[in-house]
Subunit: 524 residues, 2 copies
Amino acid sequence: MTATLPPGLTAAQFHAALKAFEGIVDAEGLVVSEEEIAGFRDPFAHASWREFAPSAALQPTSVEQVQAIVRAANEHRVPLWTSSQGRNNGYGGPAPRVAGSVALNLRRMNRVLEIDEESAFALVEPGVRFFDLYDAIKASGAKLWMSVPDLSWGSIVGNTCDHGFGYTPYGDHVASQCGMEVVLPDGELLRTGMGAMSGTRAWQVYKRGFGPSLDGLFMQSSLGIVTKMGMWLMPTPECYIPGWLTIAREDDLPLLLEALRPLLIDGTIPNQPMIINAVCAASALSGREDWYTGPGVIPEEVVERIAGQPGLGRWVMRFALYGREGIVAQQRAIVERAFAHIEGLELTFSQYAGDALPELANPHERVQAGVPSIELDRMTKWYGGEEGGHIGFSSVAPVTGRDGVALRDLVKGTLEAAGFDYSAVIIASGRAMVHVCLVVFDTKDEAQARGAYAACKSMVEPAAKLGYGEYRAHLDFMDLVAAQYDFGGHASRRLHERIKDALDPNGILSPGKQGVWPARYREG
Amino acid sequence: MTATLPPGLTAAQFHAALKAFEGIVDAEGLVVSEEEIAGFRDPFAHASWREFAPSAALQPTSVEQVQAIVRAANEHRVPLWTSSQGRNNGYGGPAPRVAGSVALNLRRMNRVLEIDEESAFALVEPGVRFFDLYDAIKASGAKLWMSVPDLSWGSIVGNTCDHGFGYTPYGDHVASQCGMEVVLPDGELLRTGMGAMSGTRAWQVYKRGFGPSLDGLFMQSSLGIVTKMGMWLMPTPECYIPGWLTIAREDDLPLLLEALRPLLIDGTIPNQPMIINAVCAASALSGREDWYTGPGVIPEEVVERIAGQPGLGRWVMRFALYGREGIVAQQRAIVERAFAHIEGLELTFSQYAGDALPELANPHERVQAGVPSIELDRMTKWYGGEEGGHIGFSSVAPVTGRDGVALRDLVKGTLEAAGFDYSAVIIASGRAMVHVCLVVFDTKDEAQARGAYAACKSMVEPAAKLGYGEYRAHLDFMDLVAAQYDFGGHASRRLHERIKDALDPNGILSPGKQGVWPARYREG
């Protein structure tokens, strides 16, 4: 049995709660052994850290079980922390914000409920991984592509609910989501948009309903548990043209961003390009020891050596074009013209038939074709061999040179002062970009791990002063990030709290998620 | 002074409330004369109807005044009904759901606060009309196009908050919205998304913030008053190619929709095509008397005669292509191939340079280029000369032949049985379409007006049985439409009510909007 109890509960009360849960789920559905519970902790947290340790885990298999679980959690005042697959690595994985919470994991609810080729959408349960939907689409024979993140072992619903990205034209997963089913904190079952009408024909084709739209409330949220989600899919394109662009000089990053913005806004580049710095690019292909084994952060001359490798550069941008042959050929020419003024820039393309895609050797090119992979997981092993971990520091900005330089300089300066290599990607999506810094560390090296957490925390306020907020954050600094959203005397936090208290008066659902605390925790 | 009082208020109490409002706004800001108040009633309601008549009107000029007004409304328990320009004609205009509400009209808050050519967006106040932003963009010299509805006298914020459409690739106005400022029912001032961070750089470029997204809560909503809104704009396209497609046979409507759907989903047709039936098309160009003066609904042979006119047909679809010359030329060829199998179909295109648009003679072609116009207002004069009115019956469905036929047959059959001509448009938007029936009547003919209302109401439940919900509704049948959203024992209505009660405990803001009633009205 666990050492950690839910806050405010005695061992006896907790035991009574577990008995109640036991009556709801099957034998696999309740996890209480220390060893198994460890699977619901932060995958990168040091073994000695208990701060975000769950007290038990539940793995229901049906919506009815989820409803019964939240009702029991209300009765016994047990905080639940929802995850789907629990692969939100870099931000805490399946671990709860409040130690002693019961992890509610939905990976056993893993049915692909519908694939509609006509209107190009899927309806999935939260346990469905990107891999699973990919297989289901293939098995169905539908001529549809999906969007996947770099690591496809995660849940589509979980990734989307955390505002995650993929890298096809449908890669803004929140924008591609259409219709949800949600279990509310009191066990009520809700369907959003047109799904609010029984027998609707339009749940997955029209995003809104009659009256206010509720879907946004259930993303990065502790207001409900998403049990079904519609996702739009892309018709298989005639051509798929992944492109690679590298710049030889660090100083040309602003030129790259300035040339990219108009191509994103007018749709010439329709996907979410990822601009990867030299260290990060190297970490996908090799270990740090292949480049540098000396003291301190990786020196400038070594970064230059990495940048000089074929196909790399100070920054390398992956992106892709999709569509009919004659049209993508012209878009390709437009892209070539748009970047031609950048000295030393290299731009290469490959071309594939969308409906006869070969086995692509490059994982980046698989990702942009919506083909699931986990090869890029290697990045986290930069320092730590098999035991590598990372936390993400992910700030949002407009796609401008000025903003790119400001974020790079803040993050690079802070990390290097803390003794970490600057490993970052910029994910561009329409008018916005997210500068994602992968602070990589050896999970066995507690001092280095602590240093990584401290470095991330130390950047939150300086970034806010420059006008940059994080779009997502690790459990360890969710409150600090949320505190930066301060307009109107933190009006948005107060509104989140009012809605939270109205829907979840006992505060049982994911307390502290994204810095939103139920009344009993705020007062306590 | 008004004959109508707010519910539950004595004349003395109402007078005290007006005194409080008088202390907040300037002389023009408080409207109490019967004559002027009439300007805030349903523009098409019969003069004798008091059902949706306001008791007074307020026209603040600043956010601070709006905050003070809602605080006073709480103190005096006066229901407010927000409109921006109040041009939501066909659904009730500026008129409140609850007779005696004070109309809160924002047309005097009409500043274009920002036009950003670099990231292609505008930030506007609720009183800004489509005409106004168009002029401001022209004056700024920015190479940007906006999206406008058929009648551009309305407010951008008002149209967007009611889920309104425009007809460029940015015509799904909710999808083009990015960032809001909102006065909550208690007077708190909120900014959504990245705007929740003071000094943010990303309010209008990234739609989400940290934690749940709130924007959807304030659309079709009584939860707040939107005082600022960001709207994305389209870079001026190299070419603008409006297209016209007509089908000669009513039976080919399903073929048209089936051929259209893939072109919408893959983006070949990037805007929101409007498919207009013969009677509706004729009503934009002529009066009913030009075609038929006999008894009963317009006969089939007359509809055939209209359909036979040059440029018309049983259904005529307006749509457009936008972009670089070489690309739109290929898209045009793809469109031609996609419809080639439909016998008797006619397809024509014009082509213009986006940055040198001539004065377009056809108002439809102006609308699709984002050029404001009100010429299509003529449609409502079908029966009634200058006194024409209409109500909309607007149902959402997937873009399929089956769904198009089912909606057409339901609506046509019901209207003709009630003695009304079937005048309709189908607005297609990606995977969904909205079948909008314009039930046109002579506002001076009370019996005909009553009949129009009755006919719309009578279609709500049969449409729901077929799986079609309305995306918007007239005050007179908002409750009936909302009642069809019944999944989980009306779980979505109960959630709307819980949020409403939490944010607006006195129920002062737009009670009854989209069928959401505050506690004091539900109990009462």
